[in-house]
Point group: C2
Chain length 238, copies 2
């Protein structure tokens, strides 16, 4: 029997899915999961996803760099924001990072009862797809969305991943068909379509234009972001 | 300022929207809201949306015909099921009907705090669109979905309505863009696309093939289905 994929379009709908025997792919394209893959590719040893600013601050005393945003902007007193560019430098190498974001870290924590969790992004798209093809497990793609609302960029990623996995998986649900249709309709020009998404407009308004284009680049890195007890770590794809 | 439209893709996400000053268009294409419009077109005087089988049964003693489904099938002891064809006969004329369905009636009851509620279907599509164009109010399209899950047919209707209203309304949210994209991608062949939707397959399995095609027909009737205190009534479009 073929393995199956499903899509949860908002963390508020996660209760509809039994994830105890599934791999959950948490995706927050703009920007949390993209930023995490960037940080891991630049050598961060571990990224701890925490839900609150207070948790992040308490980890600063334990040797963590602390990172994250509220309303898109870096939290005051934090070492780093939530832009992937903040993490693309040699100062990241070997560091432990605690990060808190509006949607992405919340979704990681909310799906911690999954059989296994990984994080998804376009910048390690093929490595992730190949990893999933080689595992014997059903998948749920969990779109982080925006404060409970469905968003375009995470749904578009879900559609792209469904398309990449369609030879090895069945994706029969309406949510899968909705995501796949969004992908097909807009795949000729992802940037032109997704730069008009709610959160892209929000980020552009506060000066993060270049983050949008960056987060839609494919296959810059060949690592997989695996989550173990809330800690995201790089796993080589080989 | 242009009026605005938004889409709520599942009743489980309704808490994200302030509907106290909006018209809510409740849509359950397969089949509740289509069936209600059919019944009103054939002369039913009022349709009361009730959440439970027990409520429906208690109304039988007060002169109501009782209708509805569980798992798609007519409830035992009920006068009518939830197929639009059940209501297309002269026995309906002048009757009060109590109906309970899995998703549609629930969504009507869950959004009763809206400024105003109407029900949407393809069989009275243009009458509904013209009615909304002539009112000074923002709109939320509430997709009934399936037991909390997002479905294709209600999302597709939302996309169609957004397209019909785009000259008079703005529809800026990601949910609107998602619905509109689904509509554009599949509008050449709605039946071919939507007969593969989860709930269409479920209905076909239990013998309701012809309902699917019927529910996708446009503009059979020229009435609007308005909701007043849980009662759905026909309003002439003129």
């Amino acid at each position: 029997m073929k393995k199956s994929i499903d899509v949860c379009l908002s963390p508020q709908l996660l209760g509809l899915f039994d994830i105890s025997r599934k791999i959950v792919v948490v995706v927050d394209i703009f920007r949390a999961t993209t930023t995490m893959i960037s940080a891991l590719a630049f050598g961060a040893s571990v990224i701890r996803a925490v839900s609150t600013v207070e948790e992040a601050l308490s980890l600063k005393n334990h040797g963590f760099l602390i990172a994250g945003e509220r309303g898109g902007e870096k939290v005051e007193g934090f070492d780093l924001g939530n832009s992937p560019f903040d993490f693309m430098n040699s100062g990241i190498k070997g560091k432990s990072i605690a990060i808190t974001t509006t949607n992405g870290t919340l979704s990681i924590n909310k799906s911690s009862h999954a059989r296994k969790q990984i994080i998804g992004s376009f910048i390690n798209f093929s490595a992730t797809a190949n990893y999933l093809i080689n595992l014997q497990s059903d998948i749920l793609i969990l779109c982080a969305g925006w404060k409970g609302s469905v968003n375009l960029e995470d749904t578009f990623y879900a559609g792209a991943l469904i398309e990449a996995l369609e030879r090895d998986f069945v994706a029969p649900s309406d949510s899968c068909k909705l995501a796949a249709s969004l992908f097909w309709q807009n795949n000729m020009n992802p940037l032109g379509f997704l730069e008009k998404a709610d959160h892209a407009l929000r980020l552009i308004r506060i000066g993060f234009d270049r983050d949008i284009a960056f987060c839609l680049q494919r296959d810059l890195h060949d690592i997989i972001g695996v989550v173990r007890n809330g800690d995201v770590m790089a796993m080589s794809s080989i």
